[in-house]
Symmetry: C2
Subunit: 413 residues, 2 copies
């Protein structure tokens, strides 16, 4: 299947416009804090949510509004999570209403998300005042997607946007998305804030299946700090404007769409990990020759989540003992005596452990390899994969740095 990356983020697919403004939730006037994504018509829609028991109010409202598998717009703010906050659901509904009035659509067709500090009342009045300006800022150009992507950033340093094009039944179909990190990020979540649009014609149930499958293999395979947020949510809206025959079953079109959606989500997930709070390195852990993918994932997740390994990568120290240690407490059974470990980056590659024992290696070369921004830890379990099983998996994380401590030692005040 041929996939081409295209510009435009959530505006790449036909039928969508987006925008972002500063409405006053964040104190710094130069930072956008309110985003809107709007579809020309009603879309098929699906969402996944955090598995945290403490769920922010906007998630509850979104879950109610999306029940019929339809939606028309997404409004989202940064600077306040509207979680554990007074009047949480009432204020999330007021956000939807403000967007609905400005767009001339039904309140129940608007989905809502928030990100920022937990436990403080959402200053919803600022959002209500800004809604008309926000609707006026909507545009189908890529500027709109970029503004929306900027308006959901908190401690993120970089905007996360991606879009791609594939062909389904000879028809060009686009999928685009924006997302934000960058703390309280850990596998086993619904996911972080991620808004996806597509012009693919696909039924709501198939859209939901595709989203769940993509999230499982992208956002659920990253970690910044092991903390699963109260506000994580991924939403996809499908306008159907591409003109392909609607996907209503698990046919080859569905498979192509899933593959493309997963590819897009992996790009956004990697961008989230790379821009983790305080991060200096993007760490990929690639486990192969495991008996099955689940085991490979369990081990890779454990490695990229280890504070000690993360601190070692920050120090550009090829401390492979911490890799073995994190593998050992992952909860998967494997034979350490058969395990190989190597480090890879644009600067080269180096084997550091064979069959569970350390190799003599060139510390200078190891430092050079780990000095690169993107580093990969490759683990070979030398197991036989079950017939038909894929015994490999990649997970993504970032290093643990002074800046992570600094950012989170005084985030609230």
């Amino acid at each position: 299947m041929s996939i081409t990356y295209v510009p435009g983020g959530v505006c790449a697919a036909k039928g969508f416009s987006a925008g972002g403004i500063h409405c006053g939730i964040r104190k710094n006037r130069s930072k956008l804090d309110l985003a809107l994504i709007a579809a020309e018509d009603s879309c098929n829609a699906a969402a996944v949510y955090t598995q945290n028991i403490v769920k922010a109010a906007p998630l509850l409202v979104t879950r109610a509004h999306i029940q019929g598998g339809k939606a028309r717009a997404i409004i989202a703010n940064a600077g306040n999570a509207n979680a554990c906050a007074p009047e949480g659901e009432a204020n999330a509904l007021r956000m939807c209403r403000a967007a609905a009035v400005a767009l001339g659509v039904a309140e129940a067709d608007v989905l809502v998300a928030s990100t920022g500090v937990i436990g403080q009342r959402l200053p919803v009045e600022a959002i209500e005042c800004g809604a008309a300006n926000l609707a006026a800022a909507l545009t189908q150009s890529e500027v709109g997607s970029a503004a929306a992507a900027a308006a959901i950033m908190t401690t993120d340093l970089k905007k996360k946007e991606c879009a791609l094009e594939l062909h389904i039944g000879g028809v060009p179909v686009r999928i685009g998305g924006i997302a934000k990190g960058s703390g309280m990020i850990h596998p086993n979540m619904g996911t972080m804030l991620c808004f996806l649009t597509t012009d693919c014609a696909i039924s709501a149930p198939m859209l939901e299946n595709a989203l769940q499958a993509a999230v499982r293999k992208s956002f659920n395979r990253i970690s910044v700090d092991g903390d699963t947020s109260t506000n994580d949510m991924a939403i996809v809206l499908a306008s159907g404007r591409a003109g392909n025959a609607e996907i209503t079953s698990q046919n080859t079109d569905y498979a192509a769409f899933c593959e493309a959606l997963r590819t897009l989500c992996v790009q956004l997930a990697r961008a989230m990990a790379a821009d983790g709070e305080g991060a200096k390195h993007l760490i990929t852990c690639h486990v192969r020759n495991a008996a099955d993918e689940e085991k490979a994932e369990t081990i890779a997740k454990s490695v990229i989540s280890s504070s000690l390994l993360k601190a070692a990568i920050f120090g550009e120290d090829a401390n492979w003992g911490r890799v073995l240690c994190a593998m050992g407490y992952a909860g998967a059974v494997f034979n350490p005596e058969k395990t190989d470990v190597s480090f890879h980056s644009a600067a080269g590659e180096i084997a550091v452990c064979r069959q569970g024992r350390g190799l003599d290696f060139d510390e200078g070369l190891a430092k050079e390899i780990l000095h690169e921004h993107e580093v990969e830890i490759r683990i070979d379990l030398h197991e036989q994969a079950a017939p038909g099983a894929q015994g490999c998996c990649e997970c993504w994380g970032c290093d643990l740095t002074y800046d992570y401590v600094k950012i989170n030692g005084d985030y609230r005040t």
Copy 2:
């Protein structure tokens, strides 16, 4: 039951001597690196081990030597973990043999432990050369225990020693211990290195039961960094010299011994958490009014393990939203809408969250409370405990600081 703390660590109980020397494993000559604890006669013995799949060689040797429930001595080194290292088991056996020869006992009566860097060959020759000096350094005075406690330290800043006396059947019985932290520490482990001695007369099976119960409620309730080590081990030796009627069943004497052993282990576990790598604060999370103790423990462990919460405490920031967040992904079911949270320390107490919603609170007072070295996060779930169930639990951790990153960014080299 009346328990009195006494000096002497592992030398407090009758029948034990201890010592520590510098033999050359650690480069810094002023740091001890080889410890020995010896009993006058064969002791009943029990041990628990890390649940990490990657187990260091000394654990395998100790497990083999302790199989009959008897042991006479423990030799331990710092500076090298003898994990994933060439000739691991052979070198662990050579350590036992060196101690056995120096003490004139059987090799199979010696238990062995190592702590330090993973993956490098243990310089066992230095240990063999030092064994005679080590045996000569043994003393029953508290100086011996202090030297042994110093000789198992790695990144620990403080020695961990504790001993106490209780009465069993009118006879004074003592239990003492030494332990070390201070990175790669996380609940759900066998435990860190901890060596306990007692003169209590107690059968090997009952000793093992008592040790497992004590570890579960002490070392398994702390976390420094979420990394369960490859080398964790707790060993207890019982000389039987106190003269009490031997404990061979779960009678009241056993209950008294268990309570005392748990009290001792909690002291050592708290000391480990307080001296966690880079730590500035000891954090206690106290959950109460849970349906059962297991739920209280699950939630308390999750809170003290959260990187975000740990960074907030470092910043002395009463960021209770992170407490709620860590509770929510703990894996236990509870009602956030009924949850109260407050912060406590020697400087006072402050309620910050009632029924899942933030309270207006005095930020100045909160800072003062969190400025203390020991801070407690108290959580009330307002659940009804099942009849006979104890719905509360304390777990202990430390804050996440610049120094943690510094220590672990370049530990190996």
